[in-house]
Symmetry: C2
Subunit: 336 residues, 2 copies
Amino acid sequence: MKPQPTLEDVARASGVSTATVSRVLNDSARVRRETCERVEAAIARLGYTPHFGGRMLASNRTDTIGAVIPTMENAIFARGLQTLEEELAAAGVTLLVATSNYDPAREARQIRALLGRGIDGLVLIGEARDPESYELLRRRGMPFVVVWTWRADCPWTCIGFDNRAAARGLADRVLDLGHRRIAMISGITLGNDRAAARLAGVREAMAARGLALDAGNLVEAAYTLEAGREAAARLLARAPRPTAIICGNDVLAAGAMLAIRVAGLRVPRDVSVTGFDDIELAQLLDPPLTTVRVPHRLMGQTAARVLLRMRAGEDGVESAMFGTTLVDRGSLQPPG
Amino acid sequence: MKPQPTLEDVARASGVSTATVSRVLNDSARVRRETCERVEAAIARLGYTPHFGGRMLASNRTDTIGAVIPTMENAIFARGLQTLEEELAAAGVTLLVATSNYDPAREARQIRALLGRGIDGLVLIGEARDPESYELLRRRGMPFVVVWTWRADCPWTCIGFDNRAAARGLADRVLDLGHRRIAMISGITLGNDRAAARLAGVREAMAARGLALDAGNLVEAAYTLEAGREAAARLLARAPRPTAIICGNDVLAAGAMLAIRVAGLRVPRDVSVTGFDDIELAQLLDPPLTTVRVPHRLMGQTAARVLLRMRAGEDGVESAMFGTTLVDRGSLQPPG
DNA sequence: AGTCAAAATGTAAGCGCTTGCATATCGAAT
DNA sequence: ATTCGATATGCAAGCGCTTACATTTTGACT
């Protein structure tokens, strides 16, 4: 790493003080146009770039927002992030991403790591986590938003949708079509409020009709294709076989459809399958997957705006709830 | 943002100098065990975390490696990153990710942004970019590696595979099966050496048998489902219709298969389709996609190790080439 | 008890930047 | 010409940390 030109070098080269150069760099409005140009020329000539550490130390800002997401491998988070990033970039703010792999301990570490890097704000997925993490955020006065989830009396600013209600709506549809032997492949609910809420929504829909989700018809599985496949294989082996499998997300549903095909059965003739998220994959499956579309872009965009406002010192920023859409594509039909 | 305890607060609270506290934080080996414990207790009690800017300013290191990738929406990069991140994390280094959306100008900006944040090293995808960016890296003496590509006389440290050879191998298989009316949906080759190399590989295989890729049978398309679909629709409208469509990646292939289905045709009976990358999606398509498996994990892991060695001052670090595998899944068959 | 490396700790000088305050410069109004 | 805000610039004090060097403490040997 070679020595880089400093603010002082620029100041000397353009015959002004370091203060003026700094002003040019930050709010050039307060510097005379002519001086400004002279300084900018020197900056270009020397190839100067501000030293991040110096700036951070002096101003205690980083123009950086952090985000901890479960994984980049699920396209749904990737897309939400993309929007978040674009929206932040437009305001000159960088996005710093960390992943937890759905591991609460790792998420806690990542939060600490991001705080240690002096972020100005934080985006978190879901609200289920260690109270210590929340306490830490409070102590530091760190602005943050919780996305991908929403409930009426959430104590944080949350920007998301009602996982429970969405899942209930989906389960209602399944029930309306006449399914009674219903199984669910849920995400791991421990430490994951979205997965838990989706499961609760399904249970609620069934309870409303005097039904219950048989313990043997519920499998919790990590959000991977392989886990979905195994879970479905287990469910298909039951007698009587379920006529519909509600999956915690699209990846699990894809795994389930794989298992169904391997078992020599057809979707939806023998078994109906539903997903959740509406990732691109959903329309590529055969048959295309009936699923719930989640407002990922809207969440990303709103999270960015809200955090920028918080950073600007605005408080009392409100939560936002977005709706979801049931996307009917054919993998769900009345039982044969 | 509330005021945080500083090193000095910790020093005062534990009755030592700031230097000692700093030593405890960095190489506790040089501090007496008893003192060390006292300091650590104070750190815990005060909830102290080091100030990143201060550290950066004083030591001029950030323990951060940057990466600029085209997009997070393609799972193949996401997975490579995951491995990279894990490997770096094990060495106490953070990964900072930026995306370019396949836009050279934006990539150049992202590189500058990362440099501005004082990264210790950089991972770049492919080697096609602005000479100014390379010049900038050279001037700053910034360690970097180029991944996802490899060629014999590349002037940089590159860690990847031979896109051209892999594509040629695939095209050879297509030709061996007897296809002669071959079409290709390539990624946009402008500013993308991987896409260009894959196209070149296909051309080379055909040339070796005295064939050429008809201009009308080549479409360049952005790496999205929609673009793949449109491109395929265009190709299917030609007379005579191609018997095989070689796609620049799996996403394009998925789009092509969608268009083929819409056109009332069947894969592979009426048209064969091949992909590239072997993302998870490939095995979920119907029929499952014949494609080229790319060593994404290996590249991520190796890139991390190489950069860590470079950071440690080691030079003359060598490039690495990994092989690819043709994964035969059924979407490619002899022409009907 | 005395000696003397080695080990442990302290001292203090920056690292590059921002910013409150002081000073200088400018233009328009008198 | 003089005055006086407004505007532009400079001065210099930190921000929190690391680290070269100086100093003190320790403990194994005489």
